[in-house]
C-alpha cells in the first residue's frame, strides 16, 4: 500500500469516526434534552444507531486495510443493531403507551385504552 493511499485511508477512517461520534452524541443529547418520552425515543433509536453503524464502518475500513482479508466481523454487529433497533423502539413505545406516559402536550395518550 502506498503512502498516498494510506494517507487517504486514514482521512477516510477519521472522517467516519468524527461523523459517527457526532451522530452518537446527537442521539444522546436528544435523549437528554427533548421534552417528552415520545420525542426522546427518536434520538437514540435513529441517530445513535446510525452513529454506531458509522463507527463500525470505520472499523471495517481500518482492519481491512491492515490485514489481507476484508474484515467483516463488524458487519455482523451492524446487522444485528439495524435489525433490533426498530424493534426496541417499537416495544418501548408500546410500553410507554401502556403506562400512559404523558406526551409534550401534557395529556396522557387516551386513544390506547378508551373508557378506563
Amino acid at each position: 500500500m502506498s503512502a498516498m493511499s494510506a494517507m487517504l485511508l486514514e482521512i477516510l477512517v477519521s472522517l467516519f469516526l468524527l461523523a459517527s461520534a457526532f451522530f452518537t452524541l446527537a442521539g444522546s443529547i436528544g435523549l437528554a434534552r427533548l421534552p417528552d418520552f415520545y420525542t426522546r425515543l427518536h434520538g437514540p433509536t435513529k441517530a445513535t444507531t446510525l452513529g454506531v453503524g458509522g463507527m463500525l464502518v470505520a472499523s471495517v475500513l481500518y482492519f481491512s486495510a491492515r490485514g489481507e482479508w476484508l474484515s467483516l466481523n463488524e458487519l455482523l454487529i451492524t446487522m444485528f443493531l439495524f435489525i433490533t433497533a426498530p424493534i426496541s423502539a417499537y416495544l418501548l413505545a408500546q410500553a410507554a403507551l401502556h403506562l400512559r406516559v404523558r406526551d409534550v402536550s401534557g395529556g396522557a395518550d387516551k386513544s390506547k385504552h378508551p373508557g378506563q
Binding site: F80, I83, T84, I87, Y90, L91, Q94, H113, Q116
Partner: protein
C-alpha cells in the same frame, strides 16, 4: 487378584438380582446365589494353601498420601470368616427365597444382602486398617438397609436407625482409634502393625487408642451397655437376623479384636476392659433371654450373651482362651443361624413368634422341631453337640485364671451361672414352643414349611453334629490355622475331644445342665413365666432421651442461626467475612505496595462514575424493585466494560451474559411478587446494615489497593507460559478452566446440574394464578406476542446460534468457550420463548432439558475417564495440531470435548431454570 474378585463379585454382582427379578423370584435368588457361589468356589480353591499355613496377599495403591491402599490378605482367620460369610450367605439366600412373601420386593432384598456380604468380606480380607474401616462403615450402611427392609413397619425403621446410630457412632470411635494406632506405628498396613507390639503397648497413647477401638468393637458386637440395638434389629426379616446376628455383622467386632489380638492383648487394660465387658454381657444377656416371650427376642439376647462369652475369652489373653474364642465363633455361627432360621420357619408357618401362644407345635412340624432341638442343644452346651466343646474349653480357661487373685472364683462362678441361664433359655425355646400344651389362638394352623426352606437348616444342624462328635476330623485343621493367625505365634497344645475324664470343667457343665433344667421348670411352673412382663430396656430409654436431647440442641442452634430472615443471614455472612478479612490487616498492618496503580484515563473515569452512581441508585431505589433492576443492569454493563479495560475479555463476555440471564430470571420472579419492598426494619437496624456495608466496601477497596500496588510477580506468568505447551490452547482462561483446573469445572457443572434439577423438582409442577391487572390496576396489554418481535426473533436465532458455535469452537485459543457459548445459546433460545410463547416454542424445539443435562455431564465425565485408557490420571488433556489440506492448521485438544460437555450442561441448566420459572405463571394451555 483372587482376593479382589472374592470381594468384587458380591459388590458388583449386587445389581444382578435386581435385574433378574423381571424373570421371577427364582431367577433373582438364582442370580444372588450365583454371585455368592463363584467367590465361594474361588475361596475353596485356595483352601490347600491356607491350611498349609500360607498367607495370600495382594495389593494396589490407592491413596498412598494418607496411607490408604487397596491391600488384601487371606490368612487363617480371614479364611474362616470368609467361609462363614459366603457359606452361610448362600444358605440364607436359599432360605430367603421361601421366606419372603409375594408382596416383598425380592430383588431389593438380594441387592442389600449382597452389598452387605461384599462389605463383610472386605472387612475380613483387608490388609490395611483404613480400608478395613471403609468396609466397616459399609456394613453399617448396608445393615441399615437390611434391617429397615420392611420400611412400612415403624419398628423396622426405628430398629434400623438405632442400629445405624449405635454402630455408626462406634465406627466413629473406631476411626479415631485406628488413626491413633496408625500414628503410633507410622503405618496402617496390618503386617507392619502386627509386628509393633512393644511399640504400641509402650506408647502413652495406648490406653485412649485401645478404648476407642474397643468402643467400635463393643458397639458392633452389641456388648453391654450398647447391646440394646440388637434386640430392636429383630424387626428385620428373619433371614437378615440369621445372617447378621449369627455369622457376620455382630461378629465384625469380635473379628476386629481377633485381628488385633497379637498387638493389643496381654495388657491389664485389655484384660479388665475386654473380659469385664464380656463377663457382664455374658451373664446379663443370658438372664434377660430367659424372660423374653418373643422367639427372636430370646435368640437376640442369647446372641448378645454368646458374643460376651467370645469377648471374655479374648480378654483372658491366654493362648488357649483365644483358641476357644475362635472355636466358639464357628460354633455359634452354625447353631445360631440354624436357630434363627427355625424361628423364622415357625413364624412363617404359624403366624406368631410369641411363646405364650406357640405351644405344642411338635404335632404339627416334627421335622422342624427335631432340627431346632439339635441346634438348641448345641446352644445349651449339651455333650455331643459342638457348643459343648467350646464351652468346656471356656470353663477350663476360666479356672486357669490367675490375674484376679483372691477373687479367682468370680469368673468360673459367673461362667457356670451363665451356663445355667443358657440351658434354661434353650430349654424354654424347645419346651415352650414344641410341647407345653396346645397352641393358643394362632393366626394359622401350623404345618411343615416347603422342602427347600428346611435344607439350609439341615445342613447347618448336620455341621453342628459333625463338629460336636468328630471335632478332630472336621473342624480341627480350620481351627488350627485360624487360631494360629490370631495368636500370630505357635499354637498351644490342645485336645479336641469330647471326653477328658472326670474334670472340674465337666462338673461345671453338669451343674449348668441340671441347674438350667431346674431353673426353667421352676420359672415355668412355680412363677408362671408367661405372666412375667419385662419392662422395656433402659438402654432404649437412654437412647431415645439422648436422641431427643441432641435433636433439641440442634434445633436451638439451627433456629438461632437460621430463623428464615434473609437479612439476618446476609448480615451474619458479611460480619464473618469482615472479621476474617480484617484479621490479616490487623495482624500485618495496612499494606500498600511500592508500585503505582497508574492513572485513570477519561473513558474509565466515565465508566467508574456510571458504576458508582448506578450502584448508589440501586440502593436508593431498592424498594421499587423494577427500577432497581434497571440500575442493576447498568452496574452489570459497567463491570463488564471494566473487565474489557483490564484485558479480561472472557470475564467481560461471561459478565454481560450472566447479567441478562439474571435480569430475565428476576423479572420472571418479580411478576409473582409484590412490586415494592415494604419498609420493615427499624432505623437502628438500617444504620447497622449501612455500617456493615460501608465497612465491607472499604475492606474490599483496601484489598484492591493492596493488590494493585504490589509488585507484579504473580502466578499468572506461570499460566501464560504453560498454556500452550501444557494445554494446547492460547486462551489461558479457557485452558485453566477445561484443563489445568478441569476437575474444578467438572465439579461446578455438577453443582449447576444439581441446582437446576433442584429448582425443577421444587417448582416444576407449581402453578400460580397470574395477576389479572398490572401494578397500576390496569389490564395488561392485549397483544401477548407482538408480530414485529416474533419476526425479528426468528431472524436473530440463526445469527445467535452461529455466534455461539463460533465462540465454542475457538474457545480454546481465543475468548469464548463452553460456558460462554452455552449461555449465548440459552439466551438465543429463551428469546424464542419471549417472542413467541411457551406453546409455540416447545412445539418446535423438543429439548429434554433433564436428559441434556445428563448427557452434558456424562460427556465431560467420559472425557475425563478416557484419559485412564492412556494411563494418565482423570481429565488429563491430550492435544494435537492437525494439518488439513484446505483449512490449514487445526488445533484439537481433548479438552474441547470436555468443553462440549460443559456447553451442553450450561445450555440445559439455564433453559431448565428459566423455563420452569416461566411456566409458573403461564396460563393453562387450552
Amino acid at each position: 487378584m483372587t482376593l479382589l474378585l472374592i470381594i468384587l463379585f458380591p459388590l458388583l454382582g449386587a445389581a444382578l438380582p435386581a435385574v433378574a427379578v423381571r424373570w421371577g423370584r427364582n431367577a433373582s435368588a438364582g442370580a444372588a446365589a450365583g454371585v455368592t457361589a463363584i467367590p465361594l468356589a474361588l475361596l475353596l480353591f485356595e483352601t490347600p494353601r491356607v491350611l498349609a499355613g500360607g498367607t495370600i496377599e495382594a495389593g494396589w495403591r490407592w491413596v498412598p498420601a494418607i496411607g490408604l491402599d487397596l491391600t488384601f490378605r487371606l490368612d487363617g482367620l480371614g479364611f474362616l470368616f470368609a467361609l462363614l460369610i459366603l457359606g452361610i450367605g448362600l444358605l440364607v439366600i436359599l432360605y430367603a427365597r421361601y421366606y419372603l412373601s409375594q408382596r416383598d420386593p425380592v430383588g431389593r432384598f438380594y441387592v442389600f444382602l449382597l452389598l452387605f456380604m461384599g462389605a463383610m468380606l472386605g472387612i475380613v480380607l483387608s490388609d490395611n486398617l483404613l480400608l478395613l474401616l471403609v468396609f466397616w462403615e459399609l456394613t453399617s450402611l448396608s445393615s441399615f438397609l437390611l434391617i429397615g427392609y420392611w420400611k412400612h413397619h415403624a419398628d423396622a425403621r426405628q430398629g434400623a436407625r438405632m442400629a445405624l446410630a449405635i454402630t455408626g457412632g462406634g465406627g466413629l470411635a473406631l476411626l479415631a482409634g485406628v488413626l491413633l494406632l496408625g500414628h503410633i506405628v507410622g503405618s496402617f498396613e496390618l503386617p507392619v502393625v502386627l509386628r509393633s507390639r512393644e511399640l504400641i503397648q509402650g506408647s502413652p497413647l495406648y490406653l485412649p487408642m485401645l478404648t476407642l477401638i474397643l468402643l467400635g468393637a463393643f458397639t458392633k458386637s452389641a456388648q453391654f451397655p450398647f447391646h440394646f440395638w440388637l434386640p430392636h434389629a429383630m424387626s428385620a426379616p428373619t433371614p437378615v437376623s440369621a445372617y447378621l446376628h449369627s455369622a457376620t455383622m455382630v461378629k465384625a467386632g469380635v473379628f476386629l479384636l481377633a485381628r488385633l489380638y497379637p498387638v493389643l492383648s496381654g495388657s491389664d487394660a485389655w484384660f479388665y476392659l475386654v473380659s469385664g465387658t464380656g463377663l457382664v454381657t455374658l451373664v446379663f444377656a443370658a438372664y434377660v433371654a430367659m424372660f423374653k416371650h418373643d422367639l427372636k427376642g430370646l435368640l437376640a439376647y442369647s446372641t448378645i450373651s454368646h458374643l460376651g462369652l467370645i469377648m471374655l475369652l479374648f480378654g483372658l489373653s491366654t493362648p488357649l482362651a483365644a483358641v476357644a474364642g475362635v472355636f466358639h465363633i464357628i460354633n455359634h455361627a452354625t447353631f445360631k443361624a440354624s436357630l434363627f432360621m427355625a424361628a423364622g420357619i415357625i413364624d412363617h408357618e404359624s403366624g406368631s413368634r410369641d411363646m405364650r401362644r406357640l405351644n405344642g407345635l411338635w404335632k404339627y412340624m416334627p421335622h422342624t422341631a427335631t432340627l431346632a432341638m439339635v441346634a438348641a442343644a448345641s446352644m445349651a452346651g449339651v455333650p455331643l453337640f459342638n457348643g459343648f466343646l467350646s464351652k468346656e474349653m471356656f470353663f477350663t480357661e476360666a479356672l486357669e485364671l490367675h490375674q484376679t487373685g483372691t477373687l479367682w472364683w468370680i469368673v468360673p462362678a459367673a461362667a457356670t451361672l451363665a451356663g445355667v441361664f443358657a440351658v434354661a433359655y434353650s430349654l424354654r425355646f424347645i419346651h415352650d414352643v414344641f410341647f407345653n400344651g396346645e397352641p393358643v389362638d394362632l393366626p394359622r394352623t401350623p404345618h411343615e414349611p416347603p422342602r427347600w426352606m428346611k435344607v439350609p437348616v439341615e445342613i447347618l444342624v448336620v455341621l453342628c453334629l459333625l463338629v460336636g462328635i468328630f471335632p478332630a476330623y472336621t473342624v480341627a485343621p480350620l481351627l488350627n490355622v485360624a487360631a494360629g493367625s490370631v495368636l500370630g505365634g505357635p499354637l498351644p497344645e490342645f485336645d479336641l475331644a469330647i471326653w477328658h475324664g472326670f474334670t472340674f470343667p465337666l462338673l461345671m457343665s453338669v451343674v449348668a445342665l441340671s441347674g438350667g433344667v431346674l431353673v426353667y421348670f421352676a420359672l415355668q411352673y412355680r412363677f408362671n413365666l408367661h405372666m412375667i412382663v419385662q419392662s422395656p430396656s433402659p438402654g432404649r430409654r437412654f437412647y431415645n432421651r439422648g436422641l431427643a436431647w441432641l435433636t433439641g440442641l440442634s434445633e436451638i442452634v439451627t433456629g438461632g442461626l437460621q430463623n428464615g430472615s434473609l437479612q439476618r443471614y446476609l448480615a451474619l455472612l458479611v460480619t464473618v467475612i469482615l472479621l476474617a478479612g480484617a484479621f490479616p490487616f490487623w495482624q500485618l498492618g495496612w499494606y500498600s505496595g511500592s508500585r503505582s496503580p497508574g492513572m485513570m484515563d477519561g473513558g474509565s473515569g466515565v465508566a467508574w462514575l456510571l458504576l458508582v452512581v448506578s450502584a448508589a441508585c440501586t440502593v436508593i431505589w431498592h424498594r421499587q424493585r423494577l427500577l432497581a433492576l434497571v440500575f442493576v443492569g447498568v452496574t452489570g454493563l459497567m463491570v463488564s466494560l471494566i473487565f474489557v479495560r483490564f484485558s479480561a475479555p472472557d470475564l467481560a463476555l461471561t459478565q454481560i451474559l450472566v447479567e441478562v440471564v439474571s435480569i430475565i430470571l428476576l423479572l420472571l420472579a418479580l411478576y409473582l411478587l409484590p412490586q415494592t419492598t415494604p419498609r420493615e426494619s427499624s432505623v437502628t437496624r438500617r444504620m447497622r446494615d449501612a455500617g456493615l456495608a460501608v465497612a465491607a466496601g472499604l475492606g474490599a477497596a483496601g484489598l484492591v489497593w493492596a493488590v494493585l500496588t504490589r509488585p507484579q510477580d504473580t502466578i499468572s506468568g506461570f499460566f501464560l507460559e504453560q498454556s500452550v505447551p501444557g494445554g494446547g490452547g492460547s486462551n489461558v482462561v479457557n485452558v485453566i478452566l477445561v484443563d489445568f483446573r478441569g476437575f474444578d469445572t467438572f465439579g461446578e457443572i455438577i453443582v449447576l446440574a444439581i441446582a437446576a434439577l433442584g429448582i425443577y423438582a421444587m417448582i416444576g409442577g407449581l402453578r400460580v394464578e397470574r395477576p389479572a391487572l398490572d401494578p397500576a390496576r390496569r389490564p395488561w396489554a392485549a397483544d401477548s406476542h407482538p408480530l414485529l418481535l416474533r419476526v425479528a426473533s426468528r431472524i436473530l436465532l440463526p445469527l445467535a446460534l452461529m455466534v455461539s458455535v463460533y465462540l465454542l469452537l475457538r474457545g480454546h485459543n481465543e475468548p469464548g468457550g463452553g460456558f460462554i457459548a452455552g449461555l449465548v445459546t440459552a439466551v438465543a433460545l429463551i428469546t424464542q420463548y419471549l417472542a413467541s410463547g411457551i406453546a409455540w416454542t416447545e412445539a418446535r424445539l423438543r429439548l429434554d432439558h433433564q436428559r441434556m443435562i445428563g448427557i452434558g455431564v456424562l460427556i465431560a465425565a467420559l472425557t475425563g475417564v478416557a484419559s485412564w485408557f492412556f494411563g494418565a490420571p482423570f481429565l488429563t488433556s491430550a492435544f494435537a495440531h492437525w494439518h488439513l489440506p484446505v483449512l490449514g492448521e487445526l488445533p484439537l485438544a481433548s479438552a474441547m470435548i470436555f468443553d462440549l460437555g460443559v456447553y451442553l450442561t450450561v445450555v440445559a441448566t439455564t433453559m431448565l431454570m428459566l423455563v420452569t420459572l416461566g411456566k409458573i405463571g403461564a396460563r393453562e394451555e387450552v
